[in-house]
Symmetry: C2
Subunit: 340 residues, 2 copies
DNA sequence: CTGAAAGCGCTTACAG
DNA sequence: CTGAAAGCGCTTACAG
């Protein structure tokens, strides 16, 4: 019988045990000052009815709920890795996790979804929230930690060192002899996108290679956005010998476009991504990328949030995590023939 | 300013707009019967204060919340794939998703966690829930769909055709000439584990190969549980030439143990898993496995739940999804030398 | 068209 | 040690 009647409430328990709901509440929450015999009666009533207190009702009344929230937009490989880190950090912590995902992907409310969901949860349900890659600034009445905040945000946050990571990626290409290096950028309002572009510019500048604006495509981190951009870059007579994409999702699309156009990777074109999502290791060839340890992003964010909620946080409120270049099969020395 | 004071409530809006909370509620929920000028006033107050209604308070009062729940224990690759399917099924559906994960992995309450969380959510917060791989029977006062139910459960559910999948896997090994085929079982209370073992027995029986109880190890789907079992099997003088593990997580551990013991896979030992988690394609050698399309499990479960909630479900309440054998690098013909 | 009042299921001072 | 009552932030008949 999966669908019973109405749920069992605290009043049902109180009635059966012959006590008030106040007393039931005390027993359920293990408060002192209830006689052993009353406890036994209430426990037996709870058992007989299969009662569980309503999370909603309890959190409406209480100040602390011992539930932490995580607000995310879409659910992608990126998010999955982050969640593993968050869960591991919360193991045995006494906090449960509620993840709120909105299904309204392309609906009217897409802008500002994070703020809306955050507010709806944080007033009551949760003691604090992690917000994953919001599109704008966010605020709440309880502590929050943002993974990948927007530029110049003062909110507590955890971010990968995107500048260093991108610099290393482009230096790797320069080291292979590439000089015409295309770049596919991410959503420019995000700090991550901005820093990755900065890294690209910085590495080129330090190598004395002028930035050619024609070699920069404006994507938005959505993999599909990279398709026309990659095509445009690769159809140029002076096409780049390498492309650095600001995310693996977009880099994988560059791989597809190159294949479509009959270009060999890494023979005719080197490709570097950013993120190290699981799919990048499965690509053919395997994608050279910058690992930003999304697991650790999630782990650190949860760790900080926990301490922020309990008022024990001592460390800096903005954490920068190191990245690591993973050289795999999609990059190779530039061919002598195509060298300018 | 990330941490403001107390959250903005409906009373704050009502006060500023000079109306009652009843009226604010009507505007927020788009109910008919409010004058245009009042709507404008309320809207402007909402905007000025940055008000969002509390999910908790609203769902406590309402019957429908337009939020679906998903209850899961740990957060693993398995879960991530399921979630992608769930989210895709819910896109533009008008339902949001709340995922509840408990952090109390090895705590006192581990048994029955699904039922407890389910009850706490389903009375009030959600219109219905998906429960992923519960360890026992579950029930709720609102519709539920179980992914991977326990044996003989009558609850609406979505399951992979574990029997057929396991049969095919073992037939594949038999076809390669293997006769001594070890099996590492999963948590026996789960229908999935039971069916996979049945498939193992069935394939052997049909090939006229007697089942050797000494070749069956009793794991519990936890990858670690496979380590001593694999070791015991492989240390036998008459060790099996192939091992079929009831999950990829366990199969990957078999790979590790074999490597430790200096056995070559697939030269000395063939290994087959079940699930097709992303990691299995990254293993060395890549793992031959049975794909149970966890994405589709999630997709179908969400699809059914949605229709169950709105009362529109017409199909069967127990869905069996096909599986597919993926032959990769971890299986090979049995060596002449080791053939009995 | 609008408001006062009751109530969703709990928890928490306050009395006793 | 226990209960009556208020109240968390909303929504919904019910009046007017």
């Amino acid at each position: 019988m999966a669908e019973g009647g109405s749920p069992v409430t605290m009043s049902d328990v109180a009635r059966l045990a012959g006590v008030s709901t106040a007393t039931v509440s005390r027993v359920v929450n293990g408060r002192y000052g209830v006689s052993a015999s009353t406890i036994a009666q209430v426990r037996s009533a709870i058992e007989r009815l299969g009662y569980e207190s309503s999370l909603v009702a309890a959190s409406l009344r209480r100040t602390r709920t011992n539930v932490l929230g995580l607000v995310t937009h879409r659910f992608q490989s990126y998010t999955a890795e982050v969640l593993k880190g968050v869960m591991d950090a919360l193991t045995q912590s006494g906090f449960d996790l509620i993840i709120y995902a909105n299904s309204d992907v392309y609906g009217t409310y897409s802008e500002g979804w994070e703020q809306r969901h955050l507010t709806r949860l944080s007033g009551t349900l949760t003691d604090g929230c992690i917000v994953v890659t919001p599109w704008g600034e966010v605020r709440a009445s309880t502590p929050i930690v943002v993974i990948d905040p927007v530029r110049d945000s003062a909110v507590p946050s955890v971010t990968a060192d995107n500048l260093a990571g991108a610099t290393t990626a482009v230096e790797h290409l320069l080291g292979l002899g590439h000089r015409r290096i295309g770049f596919i950028a991410g959503r420019s309002s995000l700090a991550a996108a901005w820093s990755r572009e900065e890294g690209y510019r910085k590495a080129l500048a330090e190598a004395g290679v002028p930035v050619d604006p024609a070699l920069i495509g404006r994507g938005d981190f959505n993999p599909e956005s990279a398709v026309p951009l990659a095509r445009a870059l690769l159809e140029r007579p002076d096409r780049p010998t390498a492309i650095f994409a600001a995310s693996d999702g977009m880099a994988l699309k560059v791989l597809e476009v190159a294949k479509e156009m009959g270009l060999d990777v890494p023979g005719d074109l080197s490709v570097v991504g950013f993120d190290n999502i699981p799919e990048s290791a499965l690509a053919e060839p395997r994608l050279t990328t910058v690992d930003q340890s999304m697991y650790r992003l999630g782990y650190e964010a949860a760790h900080m949030l926990k301490a922020l909620v309990t008022g024990e946080w001592e460390g800096p409120r903005q954490i920068l995590l190191p990245t690591r270049l993973l050289v795999r099969g999609s990059t190779a020395p530039v061919r002598a023939a195509t060298r300018p």
